[in-house]
């Protein structure tokens, strides 16, 4: 199975080609094309992942793609535990979400185009997962960005959607350019872009500043793609896209690719403690900030978007702390429960045609499937044992605890608390209580939508178990097995541990349950202290509701000056650069005019004198010009005769 791994992304690509060219004729069949293509990828990818898990081996093969001087870039696939994990996540979630979309997008006029884009995305994402070098990785990375752009702006008639797509692409592009430069730096420093040889080449080159720079620049890619501070602003806006897209791209898979990038480059990052500290800093900051904003968001998808940013920050922090397994593990569990949350939100939106949680309430009875799966996912993200989120979050907290960095540990706990709070604020406002806007007539979604919800719910419950002590931390052994064999673990925290740290577990559970409890107090009971909180902590509340003013600050500091600069330069171009050219032109004309004047009045004065004389002479002489041909002939002939006479005479 593994030797055909390169076919995994090919099926969705075929799906894309069929849908983009023949989608018009396929109509609803377009969904089948996409779903079948990703099922085919599942059929290839899952056995391959299983093979890796069973044997603990790495499978890879590559073919030459481009020769650059003495070094060669090759394209190939690499199936190691990391890739297998991602394959497991992407193929399953991708397929489920496409099945869900067939119901969700049912009435859309551009139905086939939607599935074409999703298939292209699947193809790019799967390529990225199994890519064996940075070049191929970057290419699929960018194509994913393109799909994200196209799908965010899928309903482009809405100005907000069109703008959100633009913003997403441009913001991530900034990070991507950093990533690109990072690749260049790495290639210049080591002459190698293959993941398999990354470790050895980093060792060979030693911890040079150039490599540290490469690591930092590559991290820029993560910052852009995984919506880390300060490039996180695009992700909340990206919620303008159809909800399945938010689930697939902006929650479960694509945004996690940034984390995957760090995990892939772990050998490079872990060689530089200072870079790792930057990673931790960014991760924690992002996680905290996003959680803070999520506290006050009222749009159901925006809450989830900020939650995603926050969780991604969590993963990045974990990797920065040196725990490859914790970060990857959380990536996997998060993909399941966050996809579930988004699909649930999509179901709610589908049923109510509203996104504002202040209008909802009491949906538990109207939409039981949606509600229960949503609650399961919320429990998972809040870190309630024994759901998946608990195990992964616990590992991250443990890594922080082991690193000895108490501030980070404390912050992560606070974030866990906030996460539980805002998630259950969402749950309570949406599903409990009574319906607040009576114009809404909620109804449960069709089976194509609820089916995937339950499957994902099952996943959200179960995928944490491989990492739990019940299975002897199988996952962490698996990840650490071949990839980092022989690597020195920085803080030792990533190393395999077989005992539970009950203090950490206690803190984690307390934070989760505390958050849920507080939310229940605020939003379930008749007592409603939220207004009081709002008033008392008004500055903080304002800060949160305005998303820390990021969009405004960027607009004033970056976007507008850039546009203005463009306009100024254009004016400069027209007035100065082109003006110079035109001035040269007019200058020439002017000076010729001056010369013309001199010519006319001085030089010509003399000439005119001559002219007058000439005129007088010619007035008489011109009489010869009778206009009669024969007169001319006569004169000519006489002249010839005379010439002959003078010539012959001597």
């Amino acid at each position: 199975m593994t030797s055909y791994a390169y076919l995994i992304p090919v099926f969705p690509l075929l799906g894309f080609i069929i849908n983009i060219f023949f989608g018009k004729f396929l109509k609803r069949g377009a969904a089948w094309v996409s779903i079948l293509s990703s099922l085919a990828s599942c059929a290839l990818g899952l056995p391959a992942a299983y093979e890796v898990a069973k044997t603990g081996q790495i499978f890879s093969a590559h073919a030459e793609w481009l020769t650059l001087g003495r070094s060669t870039l090759s394209f190939g696939y690499l199936l190691d535990p990391l890739a297998a994990t991602l394959l497991f996540v992407v193929t399953i979630i991708g397929t489920l979400i496409q099945i869900y979309s067939a119901g969700y997008m049912q009435d859309d006029p551009r139905f086939s185009r939607f599935f074409a884009y999703v298939s292209l995305f699947m193809s790019a994402m799967l390529t990225l997962v199994i890519a064996d070098n940075y070049a191929l990785f970057f290419m699929s990375w960018e194509v994913m960005g393109l799909c994200s752009y196209l799908l965010i702006g899928f309903w482009f008639e809405k100005n907000s959607a069109a703008n959100a797509g633009l913003k997403a692409f441009l913001t991530t592009r900034v990070g991507d350019v950093g990533f690109f430069l990072g690749i260049l730096t790495l290639f210049t420093a080591t002459g190698n872009l293959n993941f398999t040889e990354l470790e050895s080449s980093v060792h060979a080159a030693g911890a040079t500043p150039a490599l540290a720079l490469a690591a930092l620049l590559i991290f820029c890619g993560t910052i852009g793609k995984s919506a880390q501070f300060p490039l996180h602003v695009w992700l909340p806006d990206a919620m303008e896209g159809p909800t399945p897209v938010s689930a697939l791209i902006h929650a479960a898979t694509m945004v996690a690719a940034g984390v995957y990038l760090v995990a892939r480059s772990f050998a490079l990052f872990s060689a530089f403690p200072s870079v790792m500290q930057v990673v931790v800093l960014i991760g924690t900051l992002t996680a905290f900030m996003a959680a803070f904003i999520a506290l006050s968001a009222t749009d159901i998808k925006k809450v989830l978007a900020y939650s995603t940013i926050s969780q991604l920050g969590y993963m990045v922090t974990a990797l920065g702390l040196g725990s490859l397994s914790a970060g990857t593990f959380h990536l996997m569990t998060h993909a399941y429960f966050k996809a579930l949350l988004f699909l649930g939100a999509g179901s709610v939106i589908h049923g109510t045609h509203s996104q504002d949680i202040r209008e909802m309430g009491g949906l538990l009875k109207k939409m039981p499937h949606t509600a229960w799966t949503f609650i399961i996912a919320s429990l998972a993200i809040a870190g309630v044992p024994p759901l998946s989120g608990f195990w992964s979050k616990d590992e991250i907290l443990l890594a922080a605890f082991d690193s000895g960095n108490k501030i980070v540990f404390f912050l992560l706990l606070v974030i866990a608390f906030m996460t539980a709070f805002y998630m259950f604020r969402l749950v309570f406002l949406t599903f409990f209580g009574t319906l607040r806007n009576h114009k809404i007539h909620p109804h449960e979604s069709p089976a194509t939508m609820t089916g995937p919800l339950w499957i994902l719910a099952l996943g959200a419950i179960l995928v944490g178990l491989p990492g739990s002590p019940f299975f002897g931390h199988w996952f962490s052994n698996f990840i650490h097995g071949p990839v980092t064999q022989g690597t020195h673990e920085i803080h030792g925290s990533g190393a395999v541990h077989h005992a539970l740290n009950w203090f950490v577990v206690g803190c984690s559970v307390a934070a989760g349950l505390g958050g849920i409890l507080l939310a229940a107090v605020f939003y379930l009971g008749k007592l409603n202290p939220s207004v009081w909180v709002m008033r008392t902590f008004k500055p903080l509340y304002d800060l949160s509701i305005h998303k820390l003013w990021f969009d405004e600050i960027y607009s004033v500091l970056l976007v507008r000056p850039f546009l203005k600069l463009g306009q100024w330069l254009f004016i400069f171009d027209q007035k100065a650069v082109d003006g110079l050219v035109n001035a040269a032109g007019t200058g020439t004309v002017k000076s010729s005019n001056l010369q013309g004047w001199i010519d006319k009045h001085i030089v010509d004065g003399l000439v005119n004198l001559v002219g007058v004389v000439t005129q007088l002479t010619s007035a008489t002489v011109r009489r010869v010009q009778t206009g009669l041909v024969q007169h001319y002939l006569l004169i000519t002939f006489v002249s010839v005769i005379l010439l002959m006479y003078f010539h012959v005479k001597p």
Partner: protein
Amino acid sequence: MTHLYDIVKFGIYALMAFSVLAAILAVTVRNLFHAALCFAAVLIGIAGVFLSLHADFLAMVQILIYVGAVMTLVIFAIMLTERFGDNSSPQNNSLTLAAFGLAIVSLIAFSTISVKTRWPIQENAGALHLSVGELAYALLNTYVLPFEVISVLLITTLIGAVIIAKKDRVS
């Protein structure tokens, strides 16, 4: 033989005189059509003179092209511009006297030159016979380039004449 020889000689001179006479008529006759006919007579006379110079082929060409083609053209042109063919207004302009004087003077001058100059006469002058084959050989070997140029000229003339003479579509 002498007799025959003299007769031929006399005939040639007569032909020359005839040609000159016809030429004078061709440029003085009032009716243009008659003038054209006189000109045709001149051409035939010259063809005879060519014969006397053993230029048989040239004489044929002279008659075919000049008398056959060019004269037809001229006569057509005269007919097409009928109004001026034989009207009563004078056919000569005010230059007649000056032209006549000039003609006499130049005739004398040229004739003097012709007579006074010592021409490098060849030994076998007047007896050179040239077959048409030799002529063709010279034309298509030594003079092939001018020959081709002439053909291009004729084509150009053909097209040019058609374009100049055709009715202008715009007006």
